[in-house]
């Protein structure tokens, strides 16, 4: 089982990487109107209250678009290499490959759990496996509901390949039972919540970063990261998507920290002790809270709010990599030295 899990990881990375390349092909060969046509087909609902102070709340999954902006329908300047047929083909191939990657990824996590006879998130290697799986799943759910966001796939798969690559190469740990400190049902609750929140925040980060790129592009910037913005959906819709993902993940993150504190009370004798992992969980929490807050304050520019979200993901990454690998603390269950 353990060996099967390892093979499946390899397969997942490979499939995601291929998906990334095909997304890139779609990106390169497609002209805007391919993307725009999909978007327009989707765009059935009208936009709300232009001019009113727009303050979103998390919406229930309803008939409302995540990206409910009208895409410009006039023909877009078509780049020299553009070939819509290749783009359509590549887009479908990319989605299929992502699905293959996701299935392998799921299989990898499940077989790992069977091999270890426990929930498969007891060390850092497994934690990253699970976070990326949640991220990929969240991406699929979004894609099914809103095919027009497919251009984001390039960046989501990029994030998946990077994280899984680091995971497989640098963090790999053989299957082992848990140390007594981790032998608690709180492992299931606390870490599952942390995994879920982190996975969704990962997709939220991609959306936030692309919002910034697209905003720059719309403002006429043509330097490198902004040039990527050409084929992205409109900044407004991206921004709203980023917000929804964060607003969805934030209570889960809060819950994860609270459960961590309850567990810490039983395991370490205090609910909060400013252990490095706790400190950075708090820092990330405050940054995300600040983001949601800034987002709700009409006088704060959306770009600034979005930047705060990007910084929040930075704090999450510090917590994952720097705290686990560089700083030593009570959370040193990472299993990597």
């Amino acid at each position: 089982m353990a060996a099967l899990s390892d093979h499946l990881l390899l397969l997942a990375i490979l499939a995601y990487a291929l998906a990334m390349l095909t997304y890139a092909a779609e990106y390169a060969f497609g002209n805007r109107s391919v993307v725009a046509r999909v978007a327009v087909r989707e765009h059935r609902r009208e936009l709300v209250g232009a001019g009113a102070p727009v303050v979103d709340t998390l919406d229930e999954p309803g008939p409302v678009d995540l990206l409910d902006e009208p895409q410009p329908t006039e023909p877009q300047p078509t780049g020299p290499g553009a070939d819509p047929r290749i783009a359509v083909w590549a887009g479908r191939a990319a989605a299929t490959l992502t699905l293959v990657g996701w299935l392998a990824h799921l299989g990898c996590v499940v077989t790992r759990g069977f091999a270890a006879h426990r929930v498969p998130w007891g060390n850092m290697y497994e934690f990253v496996l699970a976070v990326t799986l949640v991220g990929a799943t969240a991406w699929f759910v979004l894609l099914l509901r809103r095919p027009s966001i497919r251009p984001l796939g390039l960046f989501v798969t990029l994030a998946l390949v990077i994280l899984l690559g680091i995971d497989g190469v640098k963090l790999y740990t053989p299957v082992a039972p848990l140390v007594p400190a981790l032998n608690s049902y709180w492992l299931k609750i606390h870490v599952t919540a942390a995994v879920t929140a982190s996975g969704i925040l990962m997709v939220g980060f991609v959306a936030a970063a692309l919002t910034l790129i697209r905003t720059g592009h719309e403002a006429g910037k043509t330097r490198f990261p902004y040039s990527l913005g050409a084929r992205l959906p409109a900044a407004d819709g991206l921004e709203r998507l980023a917000f929804r993902l964060h607003a969805f993940a934030f209570p889960i993150w809060t819950f994860a920290i609270i459960c961590g504190a309850i567990w810490a009370e039983a395991a370490w004798g205090r609910y909060w002790g400013w252990d490095p992992k706790e400190t950075w969980a708090f820092i990330a929490w405050v940054i995300y809270a600040g983001y949601l807050h800034a987002r709700a304050t009409p006088s704060v520019k959306r770009t600034i709010a979005t930047w705060i979200a990007v910084v929040g993901w930075g704090a999450m990454m510090v917590n994952l990599f720097v705290v686990n690998l560089v700083v030593s603390g009570l959370h040193s269950y990472a299993g990597v030295n």
């Binding site: 609902r45 009208e46 936009l47 709300v48 209250g49 232009a50 009113a52 102070p53 727009v54 303050v55 979103d56 709340t57 998390l58 919406d59 229930e60 309803g62 409302v64 678009d65 409910d68 082992a176 039972p177 140390v179 007594p180 400190a181 032998n183 608690s184 709180w186 607003a247 934030f250 209570p251 809060t254 819950f255 609270i258 504190a261 309850i262 567990w263 039983a266 395991a267 004798g269 205090r270 609910y271 002790g273 400013w274 252990d275 490095p276 400190t279 708090f282 820092i283 405050v286 940054i287 809270a289 600040g290 949601l292 807050h293 987002r295 709700a296 304050t297 009409p298 705290v323 700083v327």
Partner: protein, 540 residues
Amino acid sequence: MAALDELTTEAPAEPPSRGLGPGRALIGVGRRLWRWLTSMRTALILLFLLALAAIPGSLLPQRNLNIDKVNQYLAQHPTLGPLLDHLWAYNVFASPWFSAIYLLLFVSLVGCLIPRLRAHIAAVMRVPPEAPSRLDRLPAHAESLDLPGDPAEIAGRLNDLLRKRRFRVKVREQAGGGLTVSAEKGHLKETGNILFHFSLLAILIAVALGSWYGYHADRLVVQGADQGFCNTLQQYDEYGLGARVSPGSLEPFCLDLTSFEAKYLSNGEPSVYKAFVDYTLGDGPAKSTTIQVNHPLRLSHARIYLLGTGYAPVVKYTDKYGHSQTEVAPFLSSDAMQTSSGVIEFPDANVDPAKGVDPNHKQQVAFSGIYLPTVPSDPSVGQSAFPAERNPALMLTEYQGDLGLDAGIPSSVYSLDQHQIDTGRLNKVGDPIQLKPGQTKTLSDGTTIQFLGTRPWATMQVRYDPGETLVLVGAVCLLLGLIVMLLGRRLRVWFRIPPQGPVTAGALARSVYPGFTAEFESIVQDTRADQSRPTSRGTQ
């Protein structure tokens, strides 16, 4: 703070101050300061500052977490180290600047929340406001609703319908004979918001309570009824009391370790640590229980945690006058395989029965030792190969002389007094010896030493934190408030029913959300359930 709502809780503008007396000016400055401090923006900045201030605490070693690392860091950074020390960098979370941010945040929250709570209560009490004169100016509106019946009937039906959708409704008569129906919902959102922020406040208070009235203390307990301890400060190896804790107020209990169970995986990682203990509360009867990692012993005003374990060799020494003494000495382990070291001291050894105690303590005896629960296949490695006792051996080096116990300086019970050795008052005798359990050896001066075996020890931590329950309640309320705040939506809907002719409707979301138009449309749809399609326009 994720107040996902309009945050324009600006205080009303003050009347321009007449006269500029110094007192007035001061009051003016004070007011402005207060207003600045209690704005949401300031609270947000303070929260960010708190996060920023926490960073050095996670990167530099902290005294409360690991004092040895602090000392090591100070030794490695002779110039920067002490400078940082002046800035409380090794005690960030108890530093004045961290506390200052925390206190300011607290004041800011109180100042911001109380007016907000008052405004919210007033808003909840108020009936839904009268319809604006032009419904078609609202972000969502519908015209020419062809509803059957006279105005009173229509209003009655709209009233039922909206109440079913959990609106609060008010029907008003108009001067011209028509009616208006005003409906409002979504105060829950602001309620959630306020709950969230008050919970934050409760947590801040509870944390402070815990640090004032709580305490913690550590104690190493060797197995055996003769080795137990009671909850008094003198019996602890280390402790920290909150500012308001008096040493006499600790919960009275005594505890001893009856046995200890440890199981290990093949790679040496522990899989089970279980301490079997007997304890008494006050004058009560003795009770038995177990303490495990993740499962502390919970008393009403204290909890007892298992922190670690190790071995305490039991050694019998027979001195040159034939007098025997047995000592149990806990050894501390230096690695995961329980390579342990410590000292065994016999200060009363070699007392000449004819002459009595030698005032110069020339004849005291001590052994510095290393204990390996599993001697590795290559014994020259000098480190244990496994944490359980598979092939145990005790290596001892004898010292004789003055142990320096009378100097009044507290000394470690885990190592010999290096000062006595350096000054030649305590000297090494003979070669190191190795003993298996049960084995006896004769030393160079003719005395004998016997290794009787080991007893396990456990380190226990006693903790009390009276703020805990409040923190938990605060945290749960915080999460609840957060969810309600994120899901809630504030919506006002109006219908204008003229004496004759079509009804008009409009809606305003206090916080515009994407499902807003859809919700309004579905309400409108309901009102004309079986009517022919009068034109209804959502919005642009």
